[in-house]
């Protein structure tokens, strides 16, 4: 759409600007403040320069949490994206099946995150949970509280349960926008199922898939509540992702300096990812 240049539009944006500045810029400045200062209590602060950043960037604890988070994000992407595509391709396009599928599939997306955690905490327990009991009956010594592998399995399957529907719904939205004529043309040409997918459906899903991947990556990169409820970051530190580690450091140990430095590094990573997201979106909007 052709937009007219009008700087008075600033007045319309002003309320948003003030509100978000209050709830984003002010807290962020506090974080910046802490990240360059040290304290011995009594509200006395000393200039610490970039010491905290040095410490965090060289700390094994941060590397480990970052590594775990990246591994987690890649695993869930590798499972959720193909699974989401397959399900979206097989969803009904018309009739009563459409609302049924949409409503039931979207349900996990709307459950409070700590309830998602609670559901899986209960579901995986060997004494009272369906999953835990079934696995135990199959002869698997399943215990997500003590075994790191089992904890990872539980957290990953929980995330698949929680978020695959997002990929499904986005892909489905891309698929239904393909006009019937495309499929008819493919039929006349005798295109195989694979060719239809590769040359008609996949190109149409390109953009929604990119959105889905980026959203899933970012949200899994700041996951906190669900694994915290299920495993509390344990056993040991095996499921301590970045956010969990950060909250432990800031609220649990009250190490404000390192926590603030870590917050800023964390935020910069997110900023970079957001920029990728934004570029993808605006490039497409420009094409449209």
């Amino acid at each position: 759409m052709e937009k007219t240049w009008n700087n008075k539009a600033w007045f319309m944006v002003l309320p948003v600007l003030l509100l978000v500045a209050f709830s984003a810029v002010v807290p962020l400045m506090t974080v910046v403040n802490y990240s360059v200062q040290d304290t011995f209590g009594n509200n006395q602060f000393f200039w610490a320069g970039t010491d905290w950043f040095d410490e965090i960037l060289h700390s094994e604890r941060f590397h480990a949490a970052l590594g775990r988070n990246l591994v987690f994000s890649f695993i869930i992407l590798a499972i959720e994206v193909p699974l989401g595509i397959i399900i979206a391709l097989n969803m009904p396009r018309k009739g009563w099946g459409v609302p049924v599928c949409l409503v039931l599939m979207a349900l996990p997306l709307l459950i409070p995150w700590n309830v998602v955690g609670t559901i899986w905490q209960v579901f995986g327990r060997v004494d009272i949970g369906l999953l835990g009991r079934t696995l135990a009956n199959l002869g698997i010594n399943y215990n997500y509280v003590q075994n790191p592998m089992h904890a990872w399995f539980t957290v990953i399957i929980m995330d698949i349960w929680h978020w695959t529907s997002l990929v499904v719904l986005l892909c489905y939205a891309g698929l239904v926008s393909i006009p019937d004529a495309f499929y008819q043309a493919a039929k006349i040409d005798g295109a195989s199922r694979w060719a239809v997918f590769r040359y008609i459906q996949l190109p149409k899903m390109n953009r929604v898939l990119l959105i889905a991947v980026l959203l899933r990556f970012m949200d899994s990169f700041m996951i906190y509540t669900e694994p915290f409820v299920v495993t509390g970051g344990g056993p040991g530190n095996s499921t301590t992702f970045l956010s969990i580690d950060l909250v432990k450091m800031a609220v649990g140990q009250f190490d404000l300096g390192p926590a603030a430095a870590m917050s800023i590094i964390y935020f910069l990573i997110i900023l970079l990812l957001s920029w990728v997201f934004y570029t993808v979106m605006t490039n497409y909007d420009a094409e449209r």
């Binding site: 007219t4 539009a9 984003a24 709307l110 559901i119 349960w161 409820v229």
Partner: protein
């Protein structure tokens, strides 16, 4: 692409009856080839079963007594009881949690949508100094990890004496909900042709009158979707809500974590509380089913 266009050209322009006959023949051929498998429904069905099982288990547990939950293993309640729900609805420390959650969620939704409406209009209709930077900056707030903000929020709202009030949580959730509302509404508003605005001005409408009388009804569904997503994201968020409240405004999600009593975990009540938090989403989901993808993708599908 050119192949498809060729075939399109070949099939179009014929009489409708003949076209219809060709379509039918093709459909028959496709079925024979097995391209339209009879078992397409199997995958969505299995997936839905996978999604429903844990939820069913929670509902199942909420109708059992603690003895039954910890005792014999059964796939459905042997002696269904409403006791767990009765506990929640008669104990103020439980049901107050729901009231608290609803109060701050509704406040947040109202604030977010109201401030986002004019801003989204500005972004969808005008170019102005720094508009792209601003739009991007809003996005970064939607993407910001709440963990980064938990502690600074606590200090900021302590300084204003707002800790443990509903408005504190409502304002804090604006951090990600205002950007969300702006992006979603901008997506919907860009779908409304600009000629409508221009015609209204020519007809002598002032801007506020045009906006309320003509524009808002046109994007009513967009406002509904934005409100729904603000409601949802504020409802599901726990970390910030828990940090900013102690007792008077504590959300239900935080109260749920204290079901450990002297006799061990109170699983039944925990399950019942969980089921009750799912209900708001389950009620409205039918009305927004066609917009869920759009909302999650920030209005960009």
């Amino acid at each position: 692409m050119s192949v498809q266009q060729d075939t399109l050209a070949r099939t179009s322009g014929r009489p409708e009856a003949e076209q219809h006959r060709i379509d039918k023949a093709l459909a028959r051929k496709m079925r024979k080839r097995g391209d339209e498998s009879k078992f397409w429904w199997l995958i969505p069905t299995l997936y839905i079963i996978f999604l429903m099982l844990p939820i069913y288990w929670l509902i199942n547990m909420s109708f059992k007594t603690n003895q039954e939950i910890l005792g014999a293993f059964s796939l459905w309640p042997q002696n269904p009881t409403l006791h767990n729900y009765a506990v929640i609805f008669t104990d103020p420390s439980w049901y107050k949690g729901y009231i608290n959650s609803i109060i701050y969620v509704v406040m947040n939704t109202a604030i977010s949508v109201l401030v986002a409406l004019p801003a989204a209009y500005a972004f969808s209709r005008y170019r102005f100094l720094g508009d792209k930077h601003l739009f991007f900056w809003l996005l970064t707030n939607r993407m910001a990890p709440p963990a980064v903000f938990a502690l600074p929020f606590f200090q900021l709202y302590s300084a204003f004496g707002l800790i443990d009030t509903h408005i504190a949580v409502a304002l804090a959730h604006c951090l990600f909900n205002v950007p969300l509302a702006v992006w979603i509404l901008e997506g919907f508003m860009s779908g409304v042709p600009k000629e409508i605005d221009e015609t209204a001005y020519i007809d002598g409408y002032s801007f506020p009158r045009f906006f309320v009388k003509i524009f808002v009804p046109l994007i009513a569904s967009g406002i509904g979707v934005a409100a729904f997503f603000c409601f949802m994201f504020s409802w599901v968020e726990l970390l910030i809500a828990r940090t900013l409240t102690t007792t008077a405004a504590k959300p239900i999600a935080a109260i749920m974590t204290r079901t450990v009593s002297a006799s061990g975990m109170d699983w039944g009540v925990l399950a019942a509380a969980g089921v009750l938090t799912i209900i708001p989403g389950a009620i409205v989901i039918y009305f927004v089913r066609n917009y869920i993808a759009k909302g999650f993708a920030l209005g960009r599908v």
